[in-house]
């Protein structure tokens, strides 16, 4: 290999845009159908528990917390993000998001509880 060739490559690399993404500064665009973290809409849930029945890993649990009020507990460590529960739910009470940043140092934090009272489907920060 001639040394001249190398110099050209080096110079080009100086001005070239990096091949890698600037994660986490730049957010990665997830594909349209991406199956990420689940969210739960308690106002839609009727407590049929079909989602629990079809979940291949047993990651989702629906608990009755009051009259026509249901709370969902999802173990993100067990969930394989197949979205079968979303397909199984006839009331569209479950939804996938594009959220992939789910790593936790504390395994207990992987268990998220969606409160039965919330009208927005926001998870309870303090379970």
């Amino acid at each position: 290999m001639r040394p001249g060739k190398m110099i050209k490559e080096v110079l080009r690399s100086i001005i070239k845009k990096p091949a890698t993404n600037l994660y986490p500064a730049e957010e990665l665009a997830m594909p349209h159908n991406f199956r990420g973290k689940l969210i739960f809409h308690p106002e839609k849930c009727v407590g049929c528990k079909l989602c629990m029945k079809d979940c291949p890993t047993g990651a989702i649990t629906i608990n009755k917390v009051g009259e026509k009020q249901f709370q969902a507990v999802i173990d993100l460590g067990k969930c394989i993000y197949c979205a079968q529960c979303v397909d199984s739910c006839l009331k569209k009470a479950l939804e996938t998001t594009k959220n992939v940043e789910l790593a936790q140092l504390d395994a207990n934090k992987l268990k998220v509880t969606f409160s039965g009272e919330s009208k927005t489907g926001i998870e309870n920060k303090t379970p």
């Binding site: 060739k5 050209k8 594909p31 159908n33 079809d54 291949p56 394989i80 197949c82 079968q84 199984s88």
Partner: protein, 414 residues
């Protein structure tokens, strides 16, 4: 146990080593550099998937079956749902069948490109690895675009597919396929004209037509020995009955033939994908199937990238199957490896094993050379074995350094 012969080296390859991802055991009997015999032991990676399937419902099984293999996940899940659908006598909508075919072919493209890279790496042609894997990203992105994820697509469900494909997605797929077709033409050019590759791969890992039939080799391994067998053609499933394509065969009988079969199959896959997108009918993508599957049994066959995949399902009228049996293509091909390596050199081992595209080809592996006579031991990693193989062939005059540099320069000029 038979008595060790003092002039023979026995080399155990695997099964357990911290660097091994998939435990497989090979025991190679060597005389000098020549392989006198090879023993293969499977079963170290037994995960009990078949039994686990019996304890879960059909819907839960879908996701378990998909994880039999990370590369041919769609192959396994399609094979399984086909068997269940046959027992339940469901008519799957046409559109769903076309989508299954489309994903199946995209999966074949990504698997064959992956193989091309691995094969290049094993013979010391690393530029090919870089090229092939860069191009593979295009098809991985297409798979993510349609299914949502790069691996474990989760497309199949009993009675159809879970996601539809839009016009825009179809256009994106066509665009990607056009680029890949150009690239594949280039690989065919390299494979058929580059003397270094031809020399390195010709005559390595020979298995005759008769032996391939006798040992029941499947997929590209069999087709490279002139066995005209392809489930897509012989027993069409999904939408293959309405699509025209050629079954690629070759009569080289060696690793070179297997390379040609795979790169030419890529070209066929592009044609199949184009036809799928053109002929895909409008309509529903899913037929509702009751949770309880009636009593019955069925066997289903599927042409996975590595060869014929067979699933057997027996139902007892409940929501859970009574028995599920999976025969993956690598199991059918592994006996042929024994034959291919007989009387060949140790240096051929990496590429011959890699050439059947086994599910453990990309792993790092430990080899310990042992002389049973004097208990001298020499430990060799898969990496060292590969380096040894490349150096050995350099001595025979087959060297990829120049080719690697030439291609690199070509890339720089662009």
């Amino acid at each position: 146990m038979h008595k060790p012969e003092p002039d023979k080296f026995k080399i155990p390859v695997g099964p357990q080593h911290p660097a091994l991802k998939e435990p497989e055991g090979f025991s190679v009997a060597l005389k000098g550099e020549k392989i006198m015999g090879l023993e293969i032991r499977l079963g170290y990676n037994h995960r009990g998937i078949e039994k686990a399937c019996e304890e879960r419902t059909y819907i839960q099984d879908l996701y378990l079956i998909e994880r039999v293999c990370g590369i041919c996940s769609h192959s396994h899940s399609t094979c399984f749902v086909q068997a269940v659908e046959e027992i339940a006598a469901v008519e799957v909508p046409k559109r769903a069948l076309y989508i299954r075919t489309l994903i199946g072919e995209l999966e074949r493209v990504h698997s064959h490109l992956l193989w091309l890279g691995v094969a290049g790496h094993e013979i010391g042609f690393d530029t090919l690895l870089m090229y092939a894997w860069r191009d593979r990203e295009i098809v991985m992105d297409l798979l993510a675009l349609i299914t949502g994820n790069r691996v474990n697509y989760g497309m199949n469900t009993i009675g159809g597919v879970r996601r539809d494909i839009s016009k825009e997605q179809a256009e994106e797929v066509l665009k990607g396929i056009n680029i890949l077709e150009e690239r594949t033409k280039y690989y065919i050019e390299i494979a058929t004209q580059e003397t270094t590759i031809i020399k390195r791969l010709s005559g390595v890992g020979i298995i005759s037509h008769e032996d391939a039939l006798k040992l029941d080799a499947v997929g590209p391994t069999a087709r490279a020995s002139g066995v005209n067998r392809d489930v897509r053609y012989n027993d069409p499933y999904a939408a293959y009955g309405e699509i025209t394509f050629n079954v690629i065969t070759d009569t080289h009988n060696d690793v070179y033939g297997r390379t040609l079969v795979r790169v030419k199959e890529l070209m066929e896959s592009y044609q199949i994908i184009r036809q799928c997108l053109k002929k895909i009918p409008d309509g529903p993508i899913l037929t509702k199937v009751p949770r309880k599957i009636p009593i019955g049994e069925a066997t289903s066959r599927y042409e996975a990238p590595r060869g014929e995949d067979v699933h057997y399902v027996k139902s007892n009228g409940s929501e859970k199957p009574e028995r599920v049996k999976i025969r993956a293509p690598t199991l059918a091909n592994i006996q042929a490896v024994k034959h291919m390596l007989k009387d060949r050199f140790l240096a051929d081992m990496p590429i011959v094993i890699a050439a059947i595209d086994p599910c453990f080809s990309c792993t790092d592996r430990s080899v310990s050379l042992e002389n049973p006579g004097d208990r001298n031991k020499e430990i060799m990693t898969w990496h060292a074995l590969r380096t040894y193989s490349i150096e050995w062939y350099k001595k025979q005059g087959i060297d990829f350094t120049e080719l690697n540099n030439n291609l690199k320069n070509k890339l720089e000029r662009r």
